[in-house]
Amino acid sequence: MTDCAIRTDGLTREFGALRAVDAMSLEVPTGAIFGFLGPNGSGKTTTIRLLLGLLEPTRGTASVLGHDTRTEAGAIRERSGALLEHSGLYERMTAEDNLEFYGRVWHIPPAERRQRVHELLTGLGLWDRRREIVGQWSRGMKQKLAVARTLLHRPDLVFLDEPTAGLDPIAAAALRDDLTALARQEGVTVFLTTHNLAEAEKLCDRVAVIRSGHLVAVGRPDELRARARRDRMEVTGRGLDARIAGLVAADPAVETADVSDGRLTLRLRDGHDTSPIVALLVREGVAVDEVRKGGADLEEAFLALVGTES
């Protein structure tokens, strides 16, 4: 077995003129909770479909659990679990029957099936409601049940496509807790997509940032945040106006400069000295109150990252 659960090489998928996944080369270590972070339409779902062999790549290759997605997709699906865009639950059936069905699909022997369903539903707080029709459940409960279905057959690798999308913040937080606990407990490799950096940071040990189908950055979440923050500087004080912003924007270290609410926000270019900027502000009579490098909240840091090539 390789130490990489997923390895892609120049993976590309086009829909007509649109390149949904663009020459992606990626490695996901076995056992990792890997975050695949990108805004809507950036190619996350398409990537999962390619990795599961549900779509064929236009170019490039991908190997998942040591199997080629073009020729051995059956073997990949045999050992994977998937919670896709839609929960995939049968809403006219009970929670128990949904799991019973997928237990049969995965050839889990009846006794083990019952024990496993009990274990998972109890862990997720759904055991008492197992005889209820899923269609009447809240979205949060449905997602939990879908997580149980995804893990039912003890897969080596699970794909979770925006598992908390559409949940209210409390339900999303609860699901995140469940996901973290289950992933650790089951020792499964997780490939999770999200458009929410805070979620990636909370859940994942490694994150890849994708934008318009190609990778922008890969690393530990804190590294990525640090990198995004390095590019930002915020100045508060009296005397900050559009004229000052214009002057500052001329500095070689500054890419953009904006003033709003008496706050100057700068996007910086890599590797330039920023100390002349403060000197310039003082020289122009600004009463500088505070200078902060970074300072972006997580969401802004992420936007800075995915905006780097625009």
């Binding site: 549900l54 779509l55 998937a82 919670l83 049968y90 050839h107």
Partner: protein
């Protein structure tokens, strides 16, 4: 493979028969069919039900209608309710999924027909006590059993092709009903517009025909048609294509 086919068939049948959300509605639908085909028609036909093989022809409608509804729900329904992709992401082969759905539709339609026929027999016996024990002739049993099965297979396989092209259950059902009516009505209408003497000639030819031979020939044609439609549906049911639609 067989286990996987049965798993899918089990799920599809269970989903439709035990759908508690609309359980009453689905039961009412079934009850209506049973009343029409198991009680009303047999009462109308009387002892002829077991004497004339042609009298059981109405039962053929049951598998036709039910099997088409089932396969529409099982294929177009999975797509419409967004459960298909998760199923396709599982370990099941395309083949097992499609055949499972066809088997569910055949079981549903044919099972229903057999139950209606048995119910009809009981009703006819109860309603006509003077005739001794009325039983279907062996010919009728073969006709019902075999041709019902093959007919249900035709609807299930042809219906799966229609359902694969339909985005919603409603549209799939509409397209199938249209197809069924076309297949049944066009010969009848054609016969209506033919001149009287031609019609009479068709009639005499039909009655003078060697029915056992025809039945065997028709059986072979049906088997071939079933297999052909199944092969066509299998060729179309490929997950890498289904995802794109």
């Amino acid at each position: 493979m067989i286990a996987d086919v049965l798993t899918i068939a089990w799920k599809d049948l269970r989903e439709v028969l035990l759908q508690s959300g609309t359980l009453r509605r689905s039961l009412r639908g079934l009850l209506f069919s049973f009343l029409v085909f198991g009680v009303f028609l047999p009462l109308q036909i009387g002892p002829d039900l077991v004497r004339q093989p042609v009298a059981i022809l109405p039962f053929a409608w049951v598998p036709l209608l039910l099997a088409s509804g089932m396969v529409a729900d099982g294929i177009a329904g999975e797509r419409e309710r967004h459960t298909l992709e998760t199923l396709l992401a599982s370990r099941l082969s395309d083949r097992a999924i499609l055949i499972g759905k066809v088997v569910a539709a055949i079981t549903y339609g044919w099972g229903f027909m057999v139950i209606s026929a048995i119910l009809g027999l009981i009703v006819v016996n109860v309603a006509n006590p003077g005739h001794g024990l009325l039983l279907y002739t062996p010919t009728a049993v073969v006709l019902l059993g075999l041709f019902g099965l093959l007919g249900a297979g035709l609807v299930a396989t042809g219906g799966s092709l229609v359902a694969l092209r339909s985005p919603t259950v409603r549209q799939a059902a509409q397209n199938m009903n249209l197809a069924i009516f076309a297949v049944v009505l066009i010969p009848v209408l054609l016969l209506q517009v033919l001149p009287v003497d031609v019609r009479r000639q068709v009639g005499t030819t039909l009655t003078s025909l060697d029915w056992p031979t025809i039945a065997i020939g028709l059986g072979i044609v049906l088997v071939l048609a079933d297999l052909l439609l199944l092969a066509a549906a299998l060729a179309r049911f490929q997950r890498t294509k289904l995802i794109l639609e």
